[in-house]
Subunit: 262 residues, 2 copies
């Protein structure tokens, strides 16, 4: 299994604090030593750092931890391989372009092999993971349904959730997905989120000795949501998603919360 | 205008030496201070570092210079903006997936605005540069002509060259393109290449005081070609491409050299 980390914020915000916790789980406090990656949106563009090496000892992870890249949407993943060997092409997050936007995706879980029989139309996987295959299928479905972006994000969210439900029928499908503005979080087993806003307090990481006083780091208007497989901090109130639930975040706030359906 | 740097090698090789020269031109010895990027292939996968900041003062460029990432195909670009503002989405190299391979592209030059009337079928630009638009058009043409990869790379090369010729009718189109195995280099005005193989000697960068003795860095079987807008070293014999010429490199060697046609 793997761990996911996502962020949605209303102003460009760095994720150094949360990432410092996550990278400890990549071979330090956790067993997810089979590579890691992080995608930062800056406007409609995205930059991604990928490394098949364990994050706890990665030069590139050190850079990301120490060099604050400010972003409104972030998706990160540390990997403990199950399907697909340990190599760059199997390292999340994965990305593809649709509607002139870069879509980014990371998955935690494992899906039955019959997934590989599902037909792909537009997008083909580069690597051999079930995760990337599922992404190619999902984005191809979105593209076929919406050749142009729908005006109402609810319509898009409904459609994405219905396709995630299909993927969940094959196993564990916890997912983070974004097209640069919205962050779609879908849960099968484990995904929790936390919104920080004024009045800000202190937070301490579970995985290493690091405390941040967000009062000093933020303005009164900042709203920042962090989503993670397991809560990253102590003494803060994380909300767990339920099975089949999807939450769509926009500008740091949960825009839509949808329970499991059907 | 901008500067391009590419590499093709028969074994995974780092590009730290050449990149050290190129990054000086990004706000140091050259005016190309409007961002930079570098894409490394590792097998079929690619990882890319992008930074809209000048390379000469970039934290990320320092990482790339000092942390040897070994690759058989590299494409890099430093930007002096003409069309499109300075931001991440306008920072080369650009990439898209076709045939389950990540295609990467960087462009030096400027094309007439009528380019933006050329129809796009599959790929849409995320940013506003003529360069990315041309890439979306070119890759869409390749996809339409070859829904599956052709068996003969000559056929692919012929087709790419014919479409590059069309782009050249709109202005200056110097380009590096790869699908992970082959490096396609197309020239309108400025592009030079150099192959290093045994017996290896020393090389000194033009843009900063740095000398490498490749004897110490290589084995007898290594073959490495470097392609750049302007030769990066002194006392080595670089070959300039001619207008309309395309050279396809594979495993460090020029596989196909095609003169301007028609």
């Amino acid at each position: 299994m793997c761990e996911l980390l996502g962020m949605s914020a209303n102003i460009p915000t760095d994720i150094c604090f949360s990432f410092a916790g996550l990278m400890q789980r990549g071979g330090g406090t956790g067993p997810h030593k089979d590579g890691w990656g992080i995608a930062f949106y800056e406007g409609r563009a995205m930059r991604c750092f990928h490394d098949p090496n364990p994050s706890v000892e990665s030069e590139i992870a050190r850079l990301v931890k120490n060099y604050p890249i400010k972003s409104k949407v972030v998706i990160s993943h540390i990997r403990q391989a199950n399907v697909g060997s340990i190599c760059l092409e199997n390292t999340h997050p994965f990305s593809r372009e649709l509607w002139g936007r870069t879509w980014t995706y990371a998955h935690n879980g494992q899906l039955e092999k019959t997934l590989f029989d599902w037909p792909l139309n537009f997008y083909q996987p580069v690597g051999t993971t079930d995760s990337e295959y599922a992404f190619c299928w999902l984005l191809g479905e979105i593209r076929a349904q919406f050749p142009q972006p729908p005006e109402d994000v609810c319509e898009l969210a409904d459609f994405i959730q219905s396709r995630c439900d299909q993927l969940r029928s094959l196993g564990v499908f916890n997912m983070l997905l974004s097209e640069s503005e919205h962050l779609f979080a879908y849960c099968t087993t484990k995904l929790s989120w936390l919104t920080r806003r004024a009045p800000f307090g202190e937070a301490s990481l579970k995985d290493c000795e690091m405390t941040v006083d967000f009062c000093k780091e933020t303005t009164l208007n900042d709203v920042v949501t962090v989503i993670a497989t397991e809560p990253l901090t102590e003494h803060e109130q994380w909300t767990a998603l339920t099975t089949g639930q999807m939450v769509v975040f926009h500008d740091g706030d949960p825009l839509l919360e949808r329970c499991a359906r059907g």
